[in-house]
């Protein structure tokens, strides 16, 4: 049997996360492909015995943030930034769809919410993956969940896109 590369078994999880992050299948798989290519090139930088999954998601996080930044012409990336919800954002439209509502969250909150709620990362792993303190993980998680809950039950309207 040909030994599978240890990264290979993570592909389904990378795809799931990327899809939730970007919503579009092609865009998500592009991101996974970029991640795999980079991770394979840089595999020697991963220290054996440390968490491979956190490392891979960290590679994906950095690629994704760079992509978003370049699309936004270096707009500052902070918790107040929102990305557009495509062409579906008619005025007064109540967005109930989960994946659409996710996109209405600031990227930072969306990442934390997905890593914890979907990928079952521990809070420490999220902090490690995103390179942020654990207190920031907790506050983003709390704000992200509350905002998503509001979006899903219709009590919160998605903010108009800011500076995009």
């Amino acid at each position: 049997m040909t030994a599978e590369h240890p990264i290979m078994v993570q592909i389904p999880h990378l795809r799931r996360y990327a899809r939730a992050l970007t919503r579009h299948e092609l865009e998500a798989d592009d991101l996974v492909q970029d991640t795999l290519e980079r991770a394979l090139r840089k595999f020697s930088l991963w220290q054996q015995g440390t968490n491979l999954r956190a490392w891979l998601f960290s590679v994906m996080h950095n690629l994704y943030i760079n992509q978003v930044r370049s699309k936004q012409e270096m707009a500052p990336l902070d918790d107040d930034m929102h990305i557009p919800v495509g062409g579906r954002q008619e005025e007064g439209l109540r967005i109930r769809d989960l994946s659409t509502s996710l996109l209405a969250l600031p990227i930072e909150q969306r990442e934390v919410l997905l890593l914890v709620g979907l990928e079952d990362f521990s809070y420490e792993e999220v902090a490690q993956t995103l390179g942020i303190p654990i207190g920031t993980v907790m506050s983003r998680l709390s704000r992200g969940r509350e905002r998503l809950r509001g979006l899903l039950d219709g009590s919160t309207k998605p903010n108009p896109s800011v500076a995009i």
Binding site: V9, R15, A20, Q48, R53, G117, M138, L152
Partner: protein
């Protein structure tokens, strides 16, 4: 109890089942007195479930060729072994528990996102007990000592499928050749279900178990009074000794004997007493071992009685 020391981080950790039993009890007492927070957390539980309902199907999609093609020209070779992270074990377990829980009716199924409201405090309480139930289940996932992760995976898979009435196995024993050929192909090793009739157990069939660290096979057996056992087999049981002699483990009501032979891990799990289970485990071990010896070293004699180590 210090009700006022409950923080927002505690509430989030409650949703994610990351609290100790003691702390969970304190949070529940707090929630009982703070219905607004309880309602809010119900919404968060719902979000977690909904995320899985929404995106988990992607896990079983066929991986696009272009992604697999990234591995065709490896820049660097894969390492000989990699540690299995607790988080990935937990992720596997969560998938298993979720699937198994549904079959057993443990988990509350998803309800539509839009317009969902907690109808009453009773419903809130139901959701909170779900958290407790999940918390209990997740104890299975807590790491302790140096037990290989496969043991817990196997024990949870046993608990999930051995109690299954409608579909305990994916492929029936009546189709044993196909079962063995299929599992052999998926595991990348020649695999035969041991014959355990001499110790009172007949093969029911088997299934493939999904895991983020590669597939595993599960054979299920039943005796005359309906007691069930599973033999779990997984290749490339990494991060541990290449071979490991017979050891005993206990997870809640599930007893297990496990061993590792040249990187292939075996776990025999069941609700049997230890002595009874040992008899079956020895029979299974003997057969797997002799098969293995024949393949690897036809001249070498089969090794002796396995050492039993209590952990």
């Amino acid at each position: 109890m210090n009700k006022f020391s409950i923080t927002e981080a505690d509430l989030q950790a409650y949703v994610d089942n990351r609290l100790s039993d003691a702390r969970r009890g304190e949070v529940e007492a707090y929630l009982a007195a703070h219905p607004d927070d309880a309602r809010r957390l119900v919404g968060y539980f719902h979000i977690n479930d909904d995320l899985h309902d929404h995106f988990d199907p992607i896990l079983s999609e066929k991986i696009p060729d272009r992604l697999l093609a990234c591995f065709d020209t490896p820049a660097e070779s894969a390492p000989q072994s990699s540690r299995i992270s607790f988080a990935s074990v937990r992720a596997r377990l969560r998938d298993l528990i979720k699937r198994g829980g549904r079959a057993l009716g443990i988990l509350v199924p998803a309800s539509p996102v839009g317009g969902w409201r907690p109808a009453s405090f009773a419903l809130t309480v139901a959701w909170l007990s779900l958290g407790v139930a999940l918390g209990w289940q997740m104890q299975l996932a807590l790491p302790h000592n140096d037990m290989p992760p496969m043991v817990r995976h196997a024990a949870v898979a046993y608990a999930t499928y051995a109690s299954e009435v409608a579909h305990p196995v994916e492929i029936q024993a009546s189709n044993e050749d196909h079962l063995e050929a299929w599992l052999s192909k998926r595991l990348g090793m020649s695999l035969q279900a041991p014959k355990l009739e001499t110790v009172g157990f007949a093969l029911m069939g088997g299934r493939l178990l999904a895991g983020t660290q590669g597939p595993a096979a599960q054979f299920m057996y039943e005796d005359g009074v309906g007691r069930r056992l599973t033999l779990y087999v997984k290749t490339q049981e990494m991060g541990h000794d290449k071979s490991r002699s017979f050891e005993f483990a206990r997870e809640k009501e599930v007893n297990a004997f496990y061993w590792i032979e040249d990187g292939t891990g075996y776990v025999l799990s069941g609700n049997l007493g230890r002595a009874d289970l040992l008899k079956v485990a020895e029979a299974a071990h003997r057969q797997m071992d002799s098969l293995h010896e024949m393949k690897v070293n036809p001249k070498k004699s089969v090794s002796g009685r396995p050492r039993v180590v209590v952990i």
